[in-house]
């Protein structure tokens, strides 16, 4: 267990100073290195875990977040019985005493899936016709059909899915990973978030809280990349100042900081020097990263990108691949139009079309570059949708939804867990959000029970206080 008494300021300062020293020493080491031949592109910034608890299967994670809550019944959980019951009253034996969202105080009718399901790959996983490209990769996927969550509204459900808690000020999973494992990129943030709106009905807002570092130091927070203007806030030099001039400016700042640090003996000054160096490297690397001119037209086509850098989910997936290639630890890619309360037969195919090819192309590219077996890909929303209809759509549902994982340490071609015959409730091998987090940490070589930080007197964990389990059934 990490006995870092974050909440006690004494210890927090010690912690910050220790981290400061780590980074400071790298920066000073880097100064030496700069006098020598070119440094390798990747120098890791160490994490808080001195040794990992178990073998590490993956080095990075990408979370393809279908925000709004995609219907499992039209994607990965085929329910012929529900189809037969279409339009009939939904049996109250399922729903009595259960939480409802927009279906509160209305009669409950079954709504059959409107999509076709077919079996794919050697494994024969049933996947709906909405996702033909992802289906191509069926034998790489571990589909979990028995997810449950605790939060029935978007905002807290996202918070729960990202941080394992609905309390504000809790670190998101990406922040935990960065904190524990450090970063492998010396010129890009270790945790990057890409969000796109999507063009169909069912758009949901997503808060910056979802990638917050919470009580961890803010350098572990997710850094959102913008589609408009500078990709990273304030990364461009003002007035188009030439690069070499800005470099000299940063050198002047650091030179004076060094002189004053010697006089004040302020350890934060040493960290500051290192951060200016990092900032300047980001100013060079971010434009290089986001300039996708070197991507081939057929690549763009595979992802479904009309114009590289247009901020669509497809373009963001391509950007995500470039981030992962450059050692970024955690990338989240949001598509924000999956809240299909109504008009789902029109809106859902649009949302699927905007994401399906890109997700599949990402898997292809990672595999082709030999990165897939060290990368974990997670696809899913913050909750699922009701087997009961809500007019022309479906309401939020927390008792059952589907996600899939692929990549390092994952047993491809797996279906894990199941729901009852109407898809109302996860009944077999139920997987909680905390279980999912425990599994992700496990793949990174971390025992979730021993990965904690003191906060307000408690050992705060990503996986909360109740027992959580690693989902062994999806592991290779």
């Amino acid at each position: 267990m990490m006995d870092l008494n974050i909440h006690a300021t004494t210890a927090r300062r010690a912690f910050l100073q220790r981290s400061a020293f780590s980074i400071g020493s790298i920066a000073l080491g880097q100064l030496l290195a700069d006098a020598a031949p070119p440094v390798p592109n990747r120098i890791s910034v160490p994490g808080a875990l001195p040794v990992l608890h178990k073998p590490q299967r993956i080095k990075r994670i990408i979370h393809l977040c279908m925000a709004g809550g995609p219907s499992q019944l039209e994607t990965f959980d085929w329910k012929p019985e529900l189809k037969k019951l279409h339009g009939q009253p939904f049996p109250s034996s399922y729903t009595n005493g259960q939480q409802l969202a927009q279906l509160q105080n209305t009669p409950l009718l079954a709504r059959g899936p409107f999509t076709e399901f077919t079996r794919h790959g050697k494994s024969g996983i049933e996947i709906s016709s909405l996702l033909p490209n992802i289906a191509r990769h069926a034998d790489k996927l571990a589909v979990i059909r028995s997810m449950v969550t605790e939060q029935i509204n978007h905002d807290p459900a996202h918070a729960f899915f990202n941080s394992g808690s609905i309390l504000k000020g809790r670190p998101s999973m990406g922040s935990w990973l960065l904190y524990g494992l450090g970063s492998e990129s010396r010129d890009l943030p270790g945790f990057v978030v890409l969000a796109s709106q999507g063009s169909s009905d069912g758009v949901q807002p997503v808060s910056a809280r979802q990638w917050s570092a919470g009580f961890l130091p803010s350098r572990y927070q997710g850094v959102p990349f913008q589609a408009k203007g500078d990709a990273v806030h304030y990364v461009a030099s003002p007035g188009g100042n030439p690069r070499n001039l800005e470099e000299k400016l940063v050198q002047s700042i650091n030179a004076i900081n060094r002189e004053r640090a010697v006089q004040t003996l302020d350890p934060e000054a040493a960290t500051r020097i290192a951060q200016y160096e990092m900032a300047f490297r980001m100013q060079l690397s971010v434009p290089e990263l986001t300039d996708m001119k070197d991507e081939k037209p057929e690549t763009l086509q595979r992802y479904g990108v009309k114009r590289a850098g247009d901020g669509t989910f497809a373009s963001n997936c391509l950007l995500a691949r470039r981030l992962l290639e450059r050692g970024v630890r955690c990338v989240q890619v949001y598509h924000r139009a999956w809240d299909h309360h109504r008009n789902m037969e029109v809106a859902m195919p649009i949302a699927a079309r905007e994401t399906d090819a890109a997700c599949a192309a990402l898997l292809d590219d990672l595999e082709q570059r030999g990165m897939l077996d060290s990368t974990l890909v997670v696809w899913g929303g913050e909750f699922g949708r009701t087997p009961m209809g809500q007019g022309t759509g479906r309401d939020h549902h927390i008792n059952a939804f589907s996600i899939w994982m692929a990549g390092g340490g994952i047993k491809g071609g797996t279906v894990y867990g199941s729901t009852d015959e109407l898809g109302y409730r996860s009944v077999e091998d139920v997987v909680t959000v905390h279980d999912l987090h425990a599994t992700v940490l496990h793949l990174f070589g971390i025992d979730h029970e021993r990965f904690s930080v003191k906060f307000q007197g408690l050992d705060a964990r990503l996986t909360g206080v109740e027992p959580a389990k690693v989902v062994r059934g999806v592991l290779a």
Binding site: G24, L32, A35, L458
Partner: protein, 984 residues
């Protein structure tokens, strides 16, 4: 790096630094000063037991294992877990057991005891295993000040005693410039003025220092600085936080806090008004405004949210905030179960929540078909969050007065011969002749009567050609059949003449993302019949339409009631007043009329706009409104809001804090809660507050865990000092300012922050305060400091939130409603950071980069990080580029021509930024960037010109733009220095 040789030289220079910093940085977090004496329970033993034993053998009855309770001595003894004076109890046996099955804590808990911890427990057991009541829960008594006759301040007397015991040499006093900069930044969040530095340098006496401190404490800037701190404690923000994160009207509460600090009201009143200002005898608009505190929790308007679930969330949020802000307690942990470390029970949690069950509130702030709330009918995503009251805002009335008086001042500069003024006099014949009597012309109906009867399709009236300029029209509806929304448009030929402002009485506000849309020009809504019968409105034309040309067509739709229409020749009135009045001063009338505006200056126009945006000085604010039917409050097992089996509870304070009982009528109210919190017998309130004040001025509390005074918190390193401060605070009538003054006038506060070798060795974390600690400025003050140095800070106090530049598209992920970010204009661009619009889900990136909290949750302590984003912000956020240009502008204006050269300029700049001149090596580094910039901009002028165009601050036109741009870069270096954003 340009010159690796230079880097290596610098590195060599850094080596001693590196050694020292290493010593400071890698020191173990546990305190290294160890007393060789018997371990004390509170200081040494409880922290170990609490962390490793109490979770299963402590206050939480549900999780207690083997029925064993170790947090109470009698239980531990009764079960032979502890046999005082021996190692024969089971505790010692189990913590030293070699069998993994018997070892405590169990290996699965991953909390192994270290040999040092075991040694502490051993020594304590052998010495008789004495328990002590938890330091924070014992009554506050006033300790005797040691060596009372030494002439030291009590703070210094307590600290010195400890330093002597520990052999800690004290750091010398800081030099005058460091000290004056420190105390000014600490007390106001702003730098000292050059004059103040000079004055103190010339006379660095205690008397001069104390007088300066008193001046700072009485300033608006001090109230602003303290408000920044308090707004964190109470999670103040301008938006609701959940889902659509809509705006809510809370800023008048922020102004109430400002005023409370400015007038230094007792902490008792401060707490009482916020919790229960609506319940006190003689409740006023001000005390009701304070109750917005209870409304600052995050709320939702999301469709499909369950009211019951959200009401439970709101209740828990309030308990957490009261626990955190006033009591320094983590009572929040008792939401699902009894507290694991402290004697808070789940019943305590829900009993605390019950105090707020009387509040008029809704779980979901909208009326959806699936969750009907008839009281909220008609509310949409643009509506405010009821209940609200309308109050007078000093900031708004002050602004109106300021603009009017500015217009009057400008009027004195209008020469009699000004052609526009002469034209105004000539054309406003009717103004001069008729004002006061009949300044207006009624447009009669075809039948000759004053009243038109509009058709269903609307009413069209022609304005005849006239010799008098048309400034606007007045519309009166005789007996409006409500509800209606009236629209009036004006056309001259084919051109629409848009109105720039309209006022109507009565009118029902139309809101846009929570705020009332200014004016009725885009729709005059009347919901209910006016009590005076008639409804009246004035529509003002913009200055460009100010015209005597005709004919003009007026179209009116939305009502079929009788309507009277008059023209207004000129408006020699303040544009937000419905009744035209004569302005005696013809030149003021000329400016107010708008006639003087055409082609002259945007200034008058801006001021008129500012006047109408001040809404007559009135503003809505969310408040607490008590209902006489409080909601049922019950214990929710495991915090589950759907579980209705838990026991019902009444409002009550935590049972274990019995010594703080106050007599209350039943059922107890929020006012009783406030009285209990500020009762002299409450052991927590005063201790928590003075400890937080201490942290503001030393960087760490006397107990480092300013947010948790429970068993898991850190015991104070100088308990007598903490208790002396707490009791003195209460003795002095809970006078906040007096305690702050006591702290910042102590010798301890004035010490140098540079550690001595003995500090590195014995107290690297500075837990005993034998020196000061450097502190990076808070996010808001980094901005304020830069703007103040540059001389461009706008020091207006209070008022609606402002919107400084922000990267485009930053709110793209926000819906319900979609929103634009309209950047503030004029001085509002350069206001202090605390006035920045606080969007909870997307806090301004410049503030967020420097660890300003989103304020979704009460934030007793900000995290302090040091990140590349901070560097990027200071380098490239337009506000810092503008500040750099402002500073360069100021330099040109201030430097004496007789000594003007680059060295003098660089010295002047460094002096301005940190109070002392540049060293020769610093000058060398600054000169490098100056020379390089000049060279670069001489080769290619464009980037320099673009640099000078950033933001809205004008550049000096009397200096060479290349030089100005080059100095702007020098100033950017200065504003980016670690020293600039740190107080030493």
């Amino acid at each position: 790096m340009r010159n690796s040789g230079l880097s290596i030289r610098l590195l060599a220079a850094c080596l001693p630094l590196l050694t020292t910093i290493t010593a400071l940085a890698v020191a173990p977090p546990k305190k290294t000063v160890q007393s060789p004496v018997t371990p004390q329970y509170n200081r040494d033993v409880r922290p170990i037991l609490s962390d490793t034993c109490f979770p299963c053998h402590g206050p939480d009855s549900a999780k207690r294992k083997a029925g064993l309770r170790l947090d109470i001595r009698e239980s531990a003894l009764a079960q032979k877990a502890i046999v005082p004076g021996t190692l024969s109890g089971t505790v010692w046996n189990r913590i030293t057991n070699t069998s993994p099955d018997l070892l405590m804590p169990p290996p699965a808990a991953h909390k192994p005891l270290t040999p040092a911890q075991k040694a502490t427990i051993k020594a304590w057991l052998l010495a008789g295993a004495k328990y002590e009541p938890h330091w924070a829960y014992t009554p506050v008594s006033k300790p005797t000040v040691p060596g009372a006759s030494t002439g030291l301040s009590p703070i210094d007397a307590f600290l010195n005693q400890r330093h002597k015991q520990l052999g800690l040499t004290q750091a010398p006093q800081a030099d005058p410039v460091t000290l004056i900069r420190r105390v000014t930044l600490d007390l106001t969040g702003l730098p000292p003025s050059p004059d103040d530095i000079k004055a103190y340098q010339a006379n660095p006496t205690s008397k001069a220092y104390n007088a300066y401190v008193d001046r700072l404490l009485a300033s608006d800037a001090h109230a602003e600085r303290m408000s920044v701190w308090w707004l964190d404690q109470v999670r103040y923000a301008d938006t609701v936080g959940f889902h659509g994160d809509q705006n809510h009207n809370a800023w008048p509460y922020r102004d109430w806090v400002l005023n409370a600090f400015k007038s230094n009201i007792p902490y008792t009143t401060f707490v009482r008004d916020q919790l229960a200002g609506d319940l006190i005898p003689g409740a006023s608009d001000a005390s009701r405004t304070a109750t917005c505190f209870n409304r600052l929790n995050m709320v939702t308007r999301e469709g499909g949210a369950q009211p019951g679930e959200y009401l439970a969330k709101y209740a828990a949020d309030r308990v957490r905030t009261v626990g955190s802000a006033f009591l320094g307690s983590t009572i929040a942990c008792a939401e699902c179960h009894d507290h694991k470390y402290d004697p808070f029970t789940a019943r305590d949690f829900y009993s605390m929540a019950a105090y707020f069950a009387d509040m008029r509130q809704w779980g979901v702030y909208a009326d959806y078909s699936y969750t009907p709330e008839p009281e909220l009918r008609g509310i949409n995503n643009d509506s405010p969050f009821p209940p609200e009251i309308v109050v007078t805002s000093k900031a708004l009335t002050g602004r109106i007065d300021e603009e009017l008086s500015a217009i009057k001042n400008i009027a004195t500069t209008v020469p009699d011969s000004d052609p526009r003024y002469m034209a105004f006099l000539a054309k406003s014949g009717q103004y001069r002749d008729l004002n006061g009597d009949k300044p207006q012309l009624t447009l009669n109906a075809p039948d000759g009567s004053d009243w038109h009867t509009p058709a269903k399709t609307g009413l069209v009236v022609d304005v005849p050609r006239s010799a008098v300029m048309l400034a606007g029209i007045e519309v009166t509806i005789k007996q409006p059949q409500t509800p209606i929304t009236v629209n009036v448009t004006l056309k001259q030929g084919n051109n629409n003449l848009p109105f720039w402002h309209g006022i109507g009485a009565p009118h029902t506000p139309i809101t846009q993302n929570g705020f009332e849309r200014i004016g009725i020009q885009s729709g005059w809504r009347i919901q209910s019949k006016p009590s005076q019968g008639e409804a009246k409105a004035i529509y003002w034309l913009p200055r460009t339409a100010f015209t005597s040309a005709g004919p003009i067509k007026i179209t009116l739709t939305g009502t079929t009631s009788d309507v009277r229409i008059k023209t207004i020749p000129v408006h020699a009135v303040h544009p937000d007043t419905l009744e035209p009045q004569r302005e005696q001063n013809a030149k003021v009338a000329f400016l107010l009329s708008g006639a003087g505006l055409e082609g002259v200056t945007a200034d008058i126009s801006d001021r008129l706009r500012s006047i109408v945006q001040s809404r007559g000085g009135r503003t809505p604010v969310m408040v607490t409104e008590a209902t006489n039917k409080p909601r049922q409050a019950r214990i929710l097992a495991r915090g589950n809001w759907m579980d209705t089996t838990g026991a019902l509870v009444s409002p009550a304070t935590p049972t274990f804090l019995t010594n703080a009982k106050v007599n209350v009528a039943q059922p107890a109210s929020r006012l009783d809660l406030a009285n209990w919190i500020t009762s002299r017998n409450n052991p927590l309130t005063a201790r928590v507050l003075v400890n937080r004040f201490w942290r503001l001025f030393f960087g760490t509390g006397i107990s480092a865990s300013v947010e948790d005074f429970g068993a898991q918190g850190e015991a104070p390193t100088n308990p007598a000092l903490l208790d002396w401060l707490a009791s003195t605070f209460m003795d002095r009538g809970w006078n906040m300012r007096s305690i702050i003054r006591e702290i910042v006038t102590s010798d301890a506060y004035k010490r140098s922050s540079k550690p001595l070798p003995v500090h590195v060795e014995k107290d690297p974390q500075n837990r005993y305060f034998a020196r000061q600690s450097p502190r990076r400025l808070d996010a808001e003050f980094i901005r304020d400091n830069a703007l103040a140095i540059a001389g461009i800070l706008d020091t207006h106090v209070g008022g609606p939130p402002v919107k400084p530049f922000q990267p485009a598209g930053y709110y793209a992920n926000l819906q319900f409603p979609d929103r634009d970010y309209i950047v503030s204009t004029r001085g509002d661009q350069y206001r202090r950071g605390l006035y920045t619009h606080w969007q909870r889900t997307f806090l301004h990136p410049g503030l967020a980069a420097f660890d300003a909290p989103s304020r979704e949750e009460a934030c007793p302590v900000r995290t302090e990080a040091n990140t590349p984003q901070q560097a990027l912000t200071l380098l490239n956020d337009p506000v810092y580029v503008e500040a750099a240009r402002g500073l360069a502008n100021l330099m040109y204006a201030s430097i004496k021509p007789s000594i003007d050269n680059d060295d003098a300029r660089l010295n002047w700049l460094m002096q301005r930024v940190r109070g002392t001149a540049a060293s020769s090596t610093e000058r060398m580094h600054l000169k490098t960037i100056l020379t390089e910039s000049r060279k670069a901009y001489t080769t290619n002028e464009l980037p320099g010109r673009e640099l000078l165009r950033m933001g809205s601050l004008p550049s000096r036109i009397d200096v060479d733009p290349i030089d100005l741009a080059a100095y702007t870069n020098v100033c950017r270096v200065l504003l980016n220095l670690h020293e600039t954003i740190t107080r030493y």
